[in-house]
Symmetry: C2
Subunit: 337 residues, 2 copies
């Protein structure tokens, strides 16, 4: 099938750019030095490609992602890099996937108890390294590890996500990441274990302290990460049809909006010398850049999302495209909760 | 089941508030004077409730919504209040739902031809009344109606959505809506037909020119519409679990984020004297308002979304709650494309 025959809106993956991204990261962080984060793409089909590239362990953000990965035969070493209080869901995971290796992040007595009651046997102590989100204070990590061990859990090490530094100024990024990782290493000294997990697409190149990097966005990219000096290419696009054109007003309207891409990092880019005017539920209204011209009704346009993770979560599938031919379909099978 | 036993994140509907909203609108716009817009809630179960309240016709924004409504026995009078160039999807709709009455909006020669080739027999001429989106110029409406009739289509009338006026200042709203509707009535004079369709939750009370109002958000509401002087109550909430608390930093983290609510109208409200700090893919980080206190790990919080339509589109189902008891489940069965 030709990409032009797809019904729109359709999420498409430029597989040449995707392959470049995967190979580039695999060269920098081969094998188990990368633990790709499934939350970015929510697709076991895409995860299989990363396993083929040599990465055997994965991060997940939800228990449903963990269940889906285990069912898809990708349960070699799954980390729930997130806190949960849901004993029932953890029990369903651990009993339903007895062959999978399941590790869960904990940052409190409550999450330790949840893991133990949920049948989990291995944990990482999640340490706050500067972003106001999950993770215990570094000074509390050792005590929490003891508590976990006394609950019968194996403590594999620590995790600390420097998410606030992903888009830090390049000149300062390494120093800021070092500062965050010094806190993580101090916690690790109290906790023990083989694993120091952290990092992401924005810091993988400068974070030399973590034993494994939790990156996912690099596979498909978005315009925010695209604005940083990273060696990855935009591989994810939303294909839209122009459904209305107003030559008097100087605008065109395409058939994808707030239900087809996320706006938390701002509006997406409409490629081809167009400027987004505004986005509504089912539409993007855009005009030509200076000197450009309006498209015609029924023309196709490509849109690059500003934030990959919540954009993919809007869709049921990605169409994999090489030279305008649809060569594969990747179901977004890990959505929801 | 008690609402506290739901796994989170969970979308919940306060059915008392929902019933109030439905009854209030049905009193103001009874029966066919309201054509509820399915795009707001994407659920045939919810649409059934509106049919019971007396509204037999519905608007949709996507062909998939049209197909789903027809299959659910709600095809009495379905309007695709949106432009499409997708002949295949229209054919699947018209051949798959021979008993449904299907009307489609058109605003160009191309959309007229698409409707005719797709087996549609009735159209409305969509007229631009001031918002830079779909709709032909008012002066072109008569010519387009002629073109539709010459293609064998029945022209039922006009449609014009004054979306740019939904949140207009109350003192000016009526005059601004009148201005927009004067343009629509001029187009209607050239087009003919029985239907003048337009309006929404923000203008239903002042738009006395349309024969039917296209409102949907009033059923469940959001914090943006909640900031306007409207007689509807917030009926939709996201139920979350507090998964991490940092007493030193003064913040708490709950387990729903950018994949569970939309951010295009800003962050959601965390109820109960809390203030949102920021939202990330799977989390909302929040602190107490002055004088308030932090919740505890495993506490539940309720979040009111800023924009109802794209928030519901993030979810597979809504849990219908009365006095903390889950009394029903409404599948969000009209998602996707």
């Amino acid at each position: 099938m030709n990409v032009h025959d797809l019904a729109t809106p359709a999420l498409i993956v430029d597989v040449a750019a995707f392959d470049h991204n995967v190979a580039t990261m695999a060269a920098a962080r081969p094998g188990d030095r990368l633990r790709p984060h499934v939350k970015a793409f929510k697709s076991t089909a895409l995860a299989h490609e990363l396993a083929v590239a040599g990465h055997r362990g994965f991060c997940c953000a939800t228990v449903r992602e963990m269940v889906g990965m285990a069912r898809a035969g990708l349960g070699h070493d799954l980390l729930l890099a997130n806190e949960t209080l849901d004993v029932r869901r953890l029990q369903a995971l651990t009993t339903g996937a007895p062959d999978a290796r399941i590790t869960v992040a904990v940052d409190s007595v409550e999450t330790v108890e949840t893991a133990a009651r949920g049948g989990v046997t291995e944990v990482l102590v999640d340490v706050n390294v500067g972003m106001p989100r999950c993770g215990c204070e570094p000074a509390d990590a050792g005590r929490l590890a003891e508590r976990a061990r006394s609950s019968g859990l194996e403590v594999r090490g620590v995790m600390g996500y420097e998410g606030h530094l992903m888009m830090a100024e390049p000149a300062q990024k390494a120093a800021l990441v070092e500062q965050a990782m010094v806190a993580l290493l101090a916690a690790h000294a109290d906790v023990g274990g083989d694993v120091i997990s952290g990092g992401g697409t924005g810091t993988y190149a400068v974070n030399r302290w973590c034993t494994e990097i939790q990156a996912g966005s690099y596979t498909l990219m978005d315009t925010q990460y695209g604005s940083a000096p990273l060696p990855f290419r935009q591989a994810l696009f939303l294909l839209l049809t122009v459904v209305s054109v107003n030559p008097t007003g100087g605008w065109a309207v395409a058939d994808g909006g707030l239900k087809a891409f996320s706006m938390d990092h701002g509006p997406p880019d409409v490629l081809g010398a167009h400027k987004v005017w505004f986005c509504s539920d089912e539409h993007v209204t855009f005009g030509p850049l200076e000197g450009g011209s309006l498209p015609a009704v029924s023309d196709r346009v490509r849109v690059a999302p500003a934030h990959v993770d919540p954009t993919i979560a809007c869709h049921e599938r990605m169409h994999v495209v090489r030279d305008d031919t649809v060569v594969d379909t990747w179901e977004v099978d890990l959505r929801g909760w």
